[in-house]
Symmetry: none
Subunit: 130 residues, 4 copies
DNA sequence: GTGGTCTAGACCACG
DNA sequence: GTGGTCTAGACCACC
């Protein structure tokens, strides 16, 4: 489990980490009971500060996604996969909502939005536009 | 020209102001050469501090959207409408890109994204979902 | 006597006006006893605010360059030409001093300064560089 | 890196700071990747308000001279030295241009200008005039 | 510890 | 009346 961090997109690093952990659990890349990388390990592999990873893990524990196993580290909670799968689209939906609210307030049409979504999707996946 | 400020959405107030001014210019609500509300006026109408408005206006000057007419206030620059129209979709596109990159990295399908966009649009515009 | 105003160079308009009047007197374009344009006339010809011209004229009176002739306006004082000729290079020297002080503090060489002066002069006069 | 502030020369403090930082980078006194003094540190060493320093640093970020490293401070951008060196003479040239334009419009000769420059240089550097 | 935001209020230059 | 500068101090997010 290696996190891709973008230090320039305005999203707090600890949040990028916790989101990626949740996505990995939803994916099945991290299984129930499996240990997440130690704080130090994750910090070096993602080239971020130790405290930042600790903060992300603390949040994930508070959400019941990770549980602490005495002496050995943090592991994926038994109900985490279900929780993360449920949350998966919600996390994305929440961000979409902010963007679209602004777009709508400023006269962007449904056409324009869908076209933007389509073209960005294609650009990112390398799919040729139809 | 009255700005709607949301003090709880995490976006700095000065940025909300400058974005709304740009949108107004893109819309044609503010025409070339027209004065924007004075900092004091805008500050009271938006219920924020004078300096906060001044900061937004300063940013807009730095971007060439507003020009200062000494002693009389700030006016819309002659090339601002074009600039703002170009930027309008770009601002949205940029934010969409981050979301979609995350979605793609985590196995969300094209179907799911488009469906999310459609349902959010309908929810926000009050259109009845099919 | 028509003033060329540059509203974007940071120098106050009233100061541009008073300097240009002084230069005109030093030149002989304005003679002793001759009336300067009325405040309103100058304001329209230079496309600036009436108060701004009034401020410039007030400064010039305070310096003894202009004198008020009851009921008819402002005229060039009898000792103004001498005063203005004396001041002519001083006004320029004063501004040069600020620039050069900064340049020197930051390691610009005598060579570089003279070369800049020469090239700017040539560019402005259209003289071909040697 | 300590800034010399002159509160009486009409140049805004934040601009004096940002100019001196740029000069320091052009000089090589500040190297790529190196941190500039924290806003609090610079504020105390220059005896100005924290916000004033913050404003200067904000401008420098907007110009791409400094980059923010989250939680750790501001560092010199990788292309800043080149940018600052290019700008160094340009800042001086721009100011010279205004002066010389006025001088030319008012019949100052090339001789007179060069002589002024020479005498000012000598006065400022303490060199004995020939 | 770092920078960033916001408020409040004073003062100035300009028109 | 306008914007611009500066100060002072509070609070927050991040590392």
């Amino acid at each position: 489990m290696i996190c891709q961090i973008d230090t320039n997109n305005g999203i707090p690093i600890y949040e990028q980490i916790s989101r990626q952990v949740k996505f990995a659990i939803a994916n099945g890349s991290l299984l129930v009971g499996e240990h997440v990388p130690s704080v130090r390990e994750m910090a070096t592999s993602a080239a971020v500060n130790v405290n930042t990873v600790a903060r992300a893990y603390r949040d994930l524990q508070a959400q019941g996604v990770l549980v602490s196993i005495r002496g050995t580290g943090l592991a994926v909670a038994s109900d985490a996969p279900e929780k993360c799968r449920r949350e998966r689209l919600e996390m994305i939906r929440e961000r979409l909502r902010y963007i679209m609210r602004e777009a709508i307030q400023n006269g962007v049409t449904s056409e324009e939005i869908h076209s933007l979504v389509r073209s960005e999707w294609d650009a990112l996946t390398g799919e040729p536009p139809p």
